[in-house]
Amino acid sequence: MIADKPARQVASLTLDKTTFSYGETTLAFDVEFPAGKISAVMGPSGSGKSTLLNLVAGFEIPSSGRILINGKDFTATSPAERPVSMVFQENNLFAHLDVFRNVGLGISPSLTLDSGGHAAIADALARTGLAGKEKRLPRELSGGERQRVALARALVRDRPVLLLDEPFASLGPALREDMLELVAAMQIERKMTTLFVTHQPEDARRLASHVVFLENGTVAAAGEAADFFSADGPEAFRRYAGSAGSTPLASNAH
């Protein structure tokens, strides 16, 4: 077991007048995410949620503007060198590598692991409820377990920014519930600045302290989750979220 590092660095994340265009479409993001908190990134399909995450992760390079993490400019840094981990909706794992190695790649891209690395992997697997499944291949895991492996890797990578791009969208309600719990626990422990893309307002209410709502490739509204889900939340967001946006007892809008 690794000891919890006491003074974990908490990172702020800013997209400073960032624009990105492909073809005819231009997206423009100028937004700040609070350090060490979970922000839900919401919005209709095609509003630019994934692009926003890809810009932060470095898979897309903005045409203008800057990506600042803790005030430092990472606009032109390669994805591997950014203080960022990302969990995708699918294809988070190498299908031919077992769970242990898939997590291990988060420590060393050449899989050269010392005893400290082995301990860190074992710890991350235990925390994500995967103890004993080290030797399994991804195809021998359930969909939920596969996403847990990706989260375990994010744990061993231990970067201050965590991007979750609809990672639980294909899971059933019970599994999703478990995963949300896991993310919440990770958040309490690690204080990662987390961006969580989701279509489910109740997921956002459950997890996020902050909401950024995108529409037509730009930030339409941003603020405290409590304000968003109150009866006088931003109009555009209420239109999008429907009843689940404001009625406290609504369980599923879709």
Partner: protein, 556 residues
């Protein structure tokens, strides 16, 4: 404010590009592969140009009636071979498609895939063993008291061998076209009570007609560049094609000026044919993908059944004949003595080493190109145009088929003979040319697997910083092992059976199995040749079966 924004913009873009592109080793590998390939081909063409510039009068003198005659013959035999392969194939394919439960149907289809895997020299020997002046046919003919069998050298021999190769290929391609007809159309036809004739007219013919230009073009291309068949079965100056004439000009007449003119003509010819083919959308690698059988809703009269059965059996006999003759003649030869011969051991070892190296090179080249293409495509924006480099690593690689191996061989042979090095570099030439020729086929085996894996892993690798050797070892290799093995086995079979380059560069000190086979034929040791042909045929077939099996397991 605007000024600051612009500054940031340009800086970000500049840095961004460099960050995103960095120096991806995959692209570097692709560039190396392209440099190698273009040096090999470009060097050959340069050699030809220098050679012809040095002896311009000789080149001019080469334009004579002989040149005109062989060009005409080249086109004529290709045209006839195409007609004789394609037209019967239409009807055989239709017959097979109408009888999904014909006895032995899947065996027939598998047998029809064999000629493609056989080295041309083995097939040519099979044809001779069956129809040649001393063949099994001649024996029957004489016993029947019909006098001397005229033999099969010349145009008839070339045509028989070309049809032996291409008829089964055409059948498989047409059958594939017929399988694209949706089941609902068959249901509809049976509901409307369509008989054989309307079914052909409204369903089968339109499906096959779509494939026809591509199939015919492919066969024409294969026949126009056919070297080994014409070399062995062509009889003297009356039945010579450009490729064989190049070889003769270099090896026997020592007339480089003529060789240059012939080579340029050959390149022009293949280039025109390929250009036409591309326009027709032909499948220039002749890959077929047949599913076992499809449920059909047909009612077939007994008259039609008899006709179809006759067609299928005739085609089967025609294709199986030379194969059977190869086996029979091979078994009749003194296999035990051959197996003990030192020359055979040496040729086998030489062939194995050269083919192994060639296959290794082909697999490496194609992997490099596939990786570079993918990396370039991923780096490029969704809407940007493809760069010249990406184009070269994609379509460009297929263009090597325009340049026949004998031409590349000739292009290097001519300048090298001045410095007396033509035979010294022979092994390198054989390995390099065969590798490049196998590359388009190897590419097809590797690319889908790589692209699919990259689709899944690209962002993950970028995020985790898995690049270069680590990426090859941890991510690519496990996924690509099988397709690479397929490409390797296929390239090795191709190289093992090739006679094109070794015919030019071979010598007493460098003999491969096909070269030894040719030498034995040349000295009328027919039984030895038959034994070697059987050996070579089995080797190549085993490799192709292996390649096929590896490929199938991958997709399973």
């Amino acid at each position: 404010m605007a000024g600051r924004d612009e500054q940031i913009t340009s800086a970000a873009v500049a840095e961004g590009r460099s960050a995103a592109s960095g120096s991806d080793p995959r692209i570097a590998a692709g560039i190396c592969a392209l440099i190698f390939t273009s040096t090999l081909i470009g060097g050959a063409l340069l050699g030809l140009v220098i050679e012809s510039a040095g002896d311009f009068s000789g080149a001019a003198a080469a334009f004579d009636s002989y040149l005109f005659r062989i060009t005409r013959f080249t086109l004529w035999q290709a045209l006839l071979s195409t007609l004789l392969s394609v037209v019967p194939a239409l009807f055989v394919a239709r017959a097979l498609s109408r009888h999904p439960h014909f006895p032995g149907r899947s065996f027939i289809l598998q047998l029809f895939a064999v000629p493609l895997a056989l080295p041309a020299i083995v097939a040519a020997l099979g044809v001779l063993a069956l129809y040649g002046r001393a063949g099994y046919f001649a024996e029957l003919y004489m016993r029947a008291g019909a006098g001397d069998w005229p033999g099969i050298y010349g145009l008839s021999g070339i045509l028989v061998a070309h049809v032996f190769f291409n008829l089964p290929l055409c059948v498989r391609l047409f059958l594939e076209a017929l399988q694209t007809v949706p089941t609902d159309q068959w249901r509809l036809a049976s509901q409307l009570g369509m008989g054989a004739r309307p079914t052909f007219r409204f369903i089968e013919w339109p499906a096959m007609r779509q494939a026809l230009p591509g199939v015919a073009g492919l066969v024409f291309m294969l026949c126009i560049t056919s070297f080994t068949i014409v070399l062995i079965l062509g009889g003297g100056p009356r039945a010579t094609t450009l490729e064989v004439a190049i070889y003769q000009a270099l090896r026997f007449d020592f007339d480089p000026a003529r060789a240059v003119v012939l080579t340029l003509l050959q390149i022009l010819l293949t280039f025109v044919v390929i250009a036409l083919l591309t326009r027709l959308g032909a499948n220039t690698t002749g890959e077929t993908n047949l599913s076992v059988s499809q449920r059909r809703y047909l009612s077939i009269g007994s008259g039609e059944f008899a006709l179809n059965a006759t067609l299928i059996v005739l085609a089967l006999l025609f294709v199986a004949g030379p194969m059977g003759a190869t086996v029979a003649a091979g078994l009749q030869s003194d296999l035990v003595r051959l197996a003990g011969e030192k020359a055979v051991h040496l040729a086998t070892a030489t062939s194995a080493v050269l083919a192994f190296l060639s296959a290794l090179l082909a697999a490496t080249l194609s992997l490099s190109l596939v990786m570079a293409r993918r990396a370039l495509a991923a780096r490029r924006g969704r809407t940007d145009k493809r760069s010249l480099l990406e184009y070269a690593s994609d379509t460009g690689a297929g263009l090597v088929l325009v340049v026949p191996p004998i031409v590349i061989g000739a292009g290097w042979f001519l300048p090298l003979r001045h410095i007396g090095g033509a035979f010294a570099v022979a092994p390198i030439m054989v390995v390099a040319v065969n590798a490049v020729m196998a590359m388009p086929f190897a590419l097809r085996a590797v690319r889908p697997a790589y692209d699919a894996a990259s689709e899944r892993h690209e962002r993950l690798c970028a995020q985790l910083g898995i690049v270069g050797w680590n990426r090859l070892r941890l991510v690519e290799w496990p996924v690509l092992r099988r397709p690479l093995a397929t490409a390797f086995a296929f390239a090795m079979a191709l190289s093992l059976g090739d006679l094109g380059v070794i015919a030019l560069f071979g010598s007493d000190s460098l003999q491969t199995l096909p070269y030894l086979l040719l030498a034995r034929m040349g000295s009328y040791r027919t039984a030895d040749a038959a034994g070697l042909a059987l050996f070579l045929g089995i080797l190549c077939l085993a490799l192709i079966v292996l390649a096929d099996r590896l490929g199938k397991e991958r997709s399973a």
